[in-house]
Symmetry: C2
DNA sequence: TAATAAATTTAGACAAGTCTAAATTTCCAT
DNA sequence: ATGGAAATTTAGACTTGTCTAAATTTATTA
């Protein structure tokens, strides 16, 4: 169908499109660990295949068909992550690299059966929504803890930083998906926060507060 | 680690080595759906990496390290096939292509956990033995039904032809792994056989008898 | 608004893996 | 034992995806 490289470009464009409407060559190069010149080449090929919209010097966006493909890849990635954590008992910081490979297994029937096997999960182990067979997914309102004030509370529901280091830190602090937290104090000096969670006080930096997402 | 193409070459050499000690360029080209010239090129690269033994015009064989890699790929292929049939309820004739992709997922930890998740199966859905984490596997004595005589019996335990067409035929005749069969008659004219199986008489051609394997 | 910096694209090259056509080696039958 | 057929290898070319270096376009800022 599409090559491995093409799939990775579409996926990366999809992710970057969530926060930018026209994704730049440099953004893609950074995310894909390649050079801007290589991105330009590839982007031309994807445009020829009508998978993206591209105008020289103006960045790219996904076409309808490109987005459809990207969503199927995201679906596979998140379902396999769920499988690895729920069935094979990997930790949430261990599954990303494996899912990066597994997301390219092509059979749609396979992924649909995997979905059913796991009872149609709605969120992956990091709280990201899993698109269904048609590409639709829940969009609950997630906001960084940093955006709420003292005495406000919420439920940990996602992360903005998916790095193993951050996930391990959260695990150690028991700040995991589903936990209820309440902000008890904000330190004016560095904007760090003290949270009430698991019947304990936990002090988190501004950076952590920016990368940990809750629903209210 | 190794490229996709390299892994496929090693796997093919492994399979052909089961019946030939020096695998020829043409054999490989046929199995890999490529041309002899391409095989020669690739075989040189694998020899440079010490994964195979190769002398011009003399065919190839796996080195110890090459065999180790090949066995890990075979292990992954068969475990994923088992997963697809036992957990996702695919039919035995549907899983080969999917497993061809899945066998290249690299994580050893993943495949070992998959193995455990399924309770360390010893045979895949077609009766082929699954190597364990160290590459060791059962070698039970399998022989084609064609090699036994009237009134002799055995248990269906494997196939020599893995094509979907053959597997579907067997499924329809209920000649599946584990079934007990007895030869009640051999037709001299075309060497076809009449079997007693599932309390029924089943007439199979010589070709089928050659491709269906039993243990006695 | 002109000049400089930053971003992007073009040009030309390279590695992996494949191909066709031609050359070489091996094998087999006489 | 040798001549031709079959198998294999070599030579040269192509595609995909990448790279560096140079050229071009866009953005910034003075």
């Amino acid at each position: 169908m599409n090559t491995l490289a093409e799939e990775n470009y579409l996926k990366s464009i999809y992710h970057l499109s969530l926060t930018t409407q026209n994704v730049s060559t440099n953004q893609l190069a950074a995310l894909l660990n390649t050079k801007a010149a290589s991105v330009t080449d590839m982007v031309k090929k994807l445009a020829d295949k009508q998978l993206i919209n591209y105008a020289r010097y103006q960045g790219v966006s996904l076409s309808a068909s490109g987005e459809k493909i990207a969503l199927q890849i995201v679906r596979k990635h998140r379902l396999w992550e769920y499988f690895l954590v729920e069935k094979l008992h990997f930790k949430w910081d261990e599954v990303h690299e494996m899912a990066e490979e597994m997301e390219h297994i092509s059979s749609k029937e396979l992924v649909d059966r995997l979905d059913k096997f796991m009872n149609f999960p709605k969120y992956d182990p990091h709280g990201d929504p899993i698109p269904d067979s048609d590409g639709n997914f829940n969009t609950h309102e997630l906001k960084p803890i940093a955006t709420i004030g003292v005495n406000e509370s919420g439920i940990i529901s996602g992360v903005r930083d998916h790095s193993a280091g951050f996930l391990q830190y959260l695990e150690k602090q028991q700040l995991t998906i589903g936990k209820k937290i309440k902000v008890t104090e904000i330190i004016g000096y560095d904007n760090s926060m003290i949270l009430q969670a698991n019947d304990k006080q936990i002090h988190i930096s501004r950076e952590v507060a920016n990368n940990l997402l809750i629903v209210i």
